[in-house]
Assembly symmetry: C2
Homo-oligomer: 376 residues x 2
């Protein structure tokens, strides 16, 4: 009989705001890059997570000017430019308007960029950790634009953050009218500071950088605004030396999370292969899993909800008989897209690509049960 059954545990309200068990202290975000003060990114510990929701404390980060400490009573959102009426919305104003709550993934377009030409990271936190998923609540941007009105020739919106980098991106007006949300809540509570407290633009299925954090301004115009982050950065360098700009929608993608790099299979026998699939184009319709490096494929089960522009969990029972194996997954979406091999993508885009690597990921299982990242 363990000690904890023989005596009362910690009293109520030890933590008015609860925390994970101390036995889980290794389940934290890890720094990927830290270029200058405030610049850099951290990675979600995917291998320790289950299901599709990422807890607020473990959502990946990518900052260009650090995390501002914004007083919500001094913050507002300006909508101006090619509108009929410029308007400024306080948090209170936004809270009075019709709200929607939607579960969506956010993936940095640089996610898995390190794996384009060789296997560089040891685990799935390193290869795919610029990926998280939350329930976002806020006001559809279409409702704000119905209030301000807009000119017939308006086509793009500049979205700008209140951080030290004044992070700015151009969003097509058509996207704004479709499913963009001016969000004030994440997984039920106010958005976390690292995720844009008190306001974040949620552009479902678009690359993470467009989900402007600490949102303070939306300006309507005729053309894209060609900001720094969509010209010198966040474009795709093609084999002919030209840059593909505004490649906004994240491709169909999946990754096996368990087993994955750095793990060790403790014994032979039955285990569950599981992982995550997602597509910026819509819903996942199917995920296949291979245990022989892509020679044969088996349909995985899509577990639980299958939502548009959202992580989808897939699972497949597998009996590991002690042989060396190569584990892969490939996802399909309802727009007809299929996740492709590295070789196919390489043939199309060459070595220069860094963003938007949605190739099939391979994990090698050795006869001793060690799982590692391999380039196939």
């Amino acid at each position: 009989m363990p000690d904890w059954t023989k005596k009362p545990g910690a009293p109520i309200l030890t933590h008015p705001y609860g925390q994970p068990s101390a036995f889980e202290k290794k389940v934290v975000r890890r720094t990927a890059t830290q270029l200058r003060s405030g610049q850099g990114s951290t990675l979600t510990p995917l291998a320790s997570l289950r299901g599709i929701i990422t807890p607020g404390g473990l959502h990946f980060e990518r900052h260009h000017g650090g995390v501002p400490d914004i007083d919500p009573t001094r913050h507002s959102l300006m909508v101006h430019g090619l509108v009929d009426r410029s308007m400024q919305f306080s948090l209170d104003d936004l809270h009075r308007l019709p709200s929607v709550s939607r579960i969506h993934f956010i993936e940095c377009s640089g996610n898995t960029g390190s794996e384009w030409t060789k296997a560089t990271r040891t685990d799935v936190q390193g290869t795919h950790g610029l990926l998280s998923c939350s329930e976002w609540t806020g006001v559809p941007l279409s409702i704000l634009l119905a209030e301000t009105g807009f000119a017939r020739d308006a086509r793009w919106i500049l979205a700008e953050g209140a951080d030290g980098a004044a992070m700015s991106r151009s969003i097509p007006l058509a996207k704004a009218l479709d499913d963009v949300i001016v969000a004030y809540a994440q997984n039920g509570e106010a958005i976390r500071p690292e995720q844009g407290y008190p306001l974040r633009l949620i552009c479902p299925g678009y690359e993470g950088n467009t989900h402007i954090k600490w949102l303070r301004r939306l300006k309507l115009g005729r053309y894209p605004f060609y900001t720094r982050e969509e010209t010198s950065k966040y474009t795709d360098l093609m084999p002919d030396g030209k840059a593909r700009a505004f490649s906004l929608t994240m491709g169909v993608k999946s990754v096996i999370v368990r087993p994955s790099g750095g793990m060790k299979l403790s014994s032979r026998g039955l285990l569950e292969i599981n992982g995550l699939a997602w597509s910026g184009h819509g819903k996942i319709t199917r995920v296949d899993v291979s245990t022989d490096g892509g020679r044969t494929w088996t349909n995985a089960r899509l577990d639980g909800m299958v939502l548009r522009k959202c992580l989808t969990k897939f699972t497949l029972p597998w009996v590991w008989n002690g042989e060396s194996s190569i584990l892969q997954s490939r996802a399909f979406d309802d727009s007809g897209n299929i996740q492709e091999t590295r070789q196919t993508l390489h043939n199309r885009y060459g070595d220069n690509l860094y963003y938007h690597n949605n190739a099939i990921q391979s994990w090698s299982v050795s006869e001793s049960g060690d799982v590692s990242n391999v380039f196939i």
Copy 2:
């Protein structure tokens, strides 16, 4: 231009495990009762939350022997009694088995008990805060029972926790084979200590007390086990003095969260009425809202996903013209249940009922905009 735009913000990885903004420090759990060391409950701050997911740190608590600090490597689940093979499952064993991830509410059957004969609490955290909702991941109990086998005359399962109270309840075997989950994760990460780390029995739609935390033992038998908590407690005292036992399924229920008791409408005009609806019997099919104390009703919009045995968010735009109003909501589920008035329930059950109060909640709005809890 505010300070936070003029300089870099906090550097990356200030928090490997992130926390809410300091401006949200009032959004915490509040003690409802604290009877003895370790005994008591805390309430989820529903009025500050949005959407259907409750962040792990704000999930309500109800403990009978405090919060044990369990080392997961020393914890296991025993399944025995009327089984073909007694088995013991470590965390590692469970992680190898097929998993499911499902979003379900947990509601204490004592939730809103304080409001049965009069309005006693000032706000919705007080009246309805023994209610939370998470994505739970674990192994279907039916899979464990397929491993152990069970006798043809087995009908009930004793579920027991490893806390100082050894909390124990009887669960029908039919329920266990239907949708019960032996869960190890909540909202993506390991279950929080206050919610049963490292294992909790999730009995979707059943009263919270049956979702045994710190789960260590399941014993199959022919009859209910008549534990303390299902005989002297967690039964419903009927008008004739008899106790209704094993009233396990939570009834159809809803509550308006915004506006709700303790709030003040800042100005006249358009605002959004929103709230939550749920049923232990299945899916919510419809929610009506009244602003005149139940004389007239309007269909609210069900926002986002409508999942079985899960919170469903409803919303309705409302123009407040400055008149005094009584706000109410009533929910319908796909088993044909309709949320009833207090008077109807009183006529049926009398004054003695404490658990399972799922009556319509009324909030009064005064001409000055003050919102308060009223007994109607």
